[in-house]
Amino acid sequence: MQKHHFLLRRLHSLTGIVPVGVFLIMHLTTNSTIAWGGLNSRAHGDGWIDRSIATFQHEVEFINNMPLLLLIEITLWASIGFHSILGVVYAMSGRPNNADYKYGGNARYTLQRLTGYFGIFFIFYHVATLRWGWDWLPGAAKWSHEHAASTLAHALQGSTEQFTTTGLFVSIFYFIGVSALVFHFANGLWTAAITWGLTISRKAQQRWGFACAGLGAVLMIMAWVSVVGFATLDYEQARGVEEAMKLDSLPIDSGSHTETAAVEQTDIDG
């Protein structure tokens, strides 16, 4: 640790931005399509929410069809793991003193560490339930990339029928979790500029602070509309849009072209 101290510190800072921070931006952009994905609904001639569900499903499929997806995932996992483990080690080396020194910077110092701890916990729960399907965890519901929006609605609402108490806890947990991670990223981006020596003067640090706060605010809104969007989404409606899309995407040369078209027709009529 001591020999490569500087390298580890800088890598810790770097991994927080690339790839983890960049991934966070992409992830929130994709998720928030549940709120703004209906922007082109008029062109498609369907409702705002239907189009949002379809856009989200489309984005998820695009990601699932990316080349070298496994490599991308391994890189992300390694980076998050590295950043988390070193982050905890570094965070443990400090002794917060916010009671005596009530400065904004000091509060952000402590918040950065608390959001880090909470973020690790949240990411673990998030992935373990939705991805790995660890259904023994409270409020767990496995996510399926074929039914991207509906299974998420199920997870955040606690059931496929109505919004349950479990759903309320999961939704609040997600709300706090994403907020913590967005703060952690935006504030980390601000401190990284000092660490690397990009911002030196007080004015430069202030200017970059406004830029980071702006980015953080945008990401925060994206994170919040994502959570609210899925927590209030109608399960049956989402399921319907996803099923229709599945039929749409059946291969044309499967030998049952006419049949498929017929089924599709009935589905839309129904």
């Binding site: 020194y101 910077g105 690397w196 430069a204 640090q205």
Partner: protein
């Protein structure tokens, strides 16, 4: 937290307190006491009459002459350290109402304007206590040697006059040169923690004062000869990258030294130094 503890926070409040200060009042000093290294600490209170323009040191002198607690028991005089009594030596630094500062420049009118208001005095929290309010700040000076915070002029021959200096550069360095090594930046820093074991000093966080002094001497015409050595040390364990950017240091610095700018500048220096080392370094 008493009323007296909650103010004395920002400068405006202190100014307002000075205006409403009552003449001929007595204030309570709550002092954290300790008889020697490793001994347990205890709290003792003293009621002290405030003279005009009185400060913490003048009050401590009064207590030394009248070492009787508010309970009426006779005790030993409180020990403290001080030197210049004009806020330029840093020796009398202590924690007053939970916040670190020099006690000589701490006016009672600003901290305890009314009869019976309390002021708490504690020794600095990051250094070993020698006795009462007196601490051993050896680590602070040790850390200055870690970054070779000096100009290498000792030699066997005359090195001649140094390079020319612009007024702007001189102004920048002057601000950094005002550091009196008091340790306020260290006591308020959440990342600079108390380290009893001297063996671990060299790998523990060095602190804002030493980072800023490294910058000062890196900017000196002759002092920059040791730039590489300083960056080597500051890139290592306990160096500048251990800074957590809470930025308390710049807020509590009694000399208003731009410590966070120094941290940014030294951060840049170590980044550039490390890249250079990576591509052309020998080891």
């Amino acid at each position: 937290m008493s009323d007296a503890e909650s103010h004395a926070f920002d400068a405006d409040m202190r100014r307002a307190n000075r205006k409403k200060a009552v003449e001929g009042r007595s204030v309570i000093f709550k002092i954290k006491r300790c008889d020697g290294p490793g001994k347990p600490s205890r709290w003792e209170s003293f009621k002290v009459p405030v003279e005009q323009g009185g400060n913490v040191i003048s009050s401590l002198k009064w207590i030394a002459a009248n070492p009787i607690t508010t309970e009426g028991t006779k005790t030993t005089p409180v020990v403290w350290d001080s030197g210049c009594l004009e806020e330029v030596c840093g020796a009398c630094t202590m924690v007053i109402n939970g916040r670190v500062r020099q006690s000589c420049s701490c006016l009672i009118d600003e901290y305890a304007p009314l009869e019976g208001d309390a002021i708490t005095l504690e020794p600095m929290s990051k250094f070993p206590v020698i006795r009462d309010l007196w601490v051993d700040r050896a680590r602070l000076f040790h850390n200055l040697t870690r970054v070779k915070a000096w100009v290498p002029i000792d030699g066997t021959y005359n090195m001649g006059a140094g390079p020319k200096e612009t007024p702007e550069h001189q102004q920048m360095r002057y601000a950094l040169s005002e550091c009196m090594s008091c340790g306020c930046c260290l006591d308020a820093c959440p990342q600079f923690t108390k380290v009893e074991d001297e063996e671990k000093w060299d790998t523990s966080f060095i602190g804002a004062h030493a980072i800023s002094q490294a910058r000062l001497f890196n900017e000196h015409g002759t002092g920059k000869l040791l730039k590489g050595d300083r960056y080597e040390e500051l890139a290592g364990a306990g160096g500048v990258s251990d800074c957590g950017n809470a930025q308390n240091c710049v807020k509590v610095c009694p000399k208003g030294i731009p410590l966070t700018e120094s941290i940014g500048a030294v951060g840049r220096g170590t980044t550039v130094h490390a890249i250079k080392q990576f591509f052309q370094g020998k080891e």
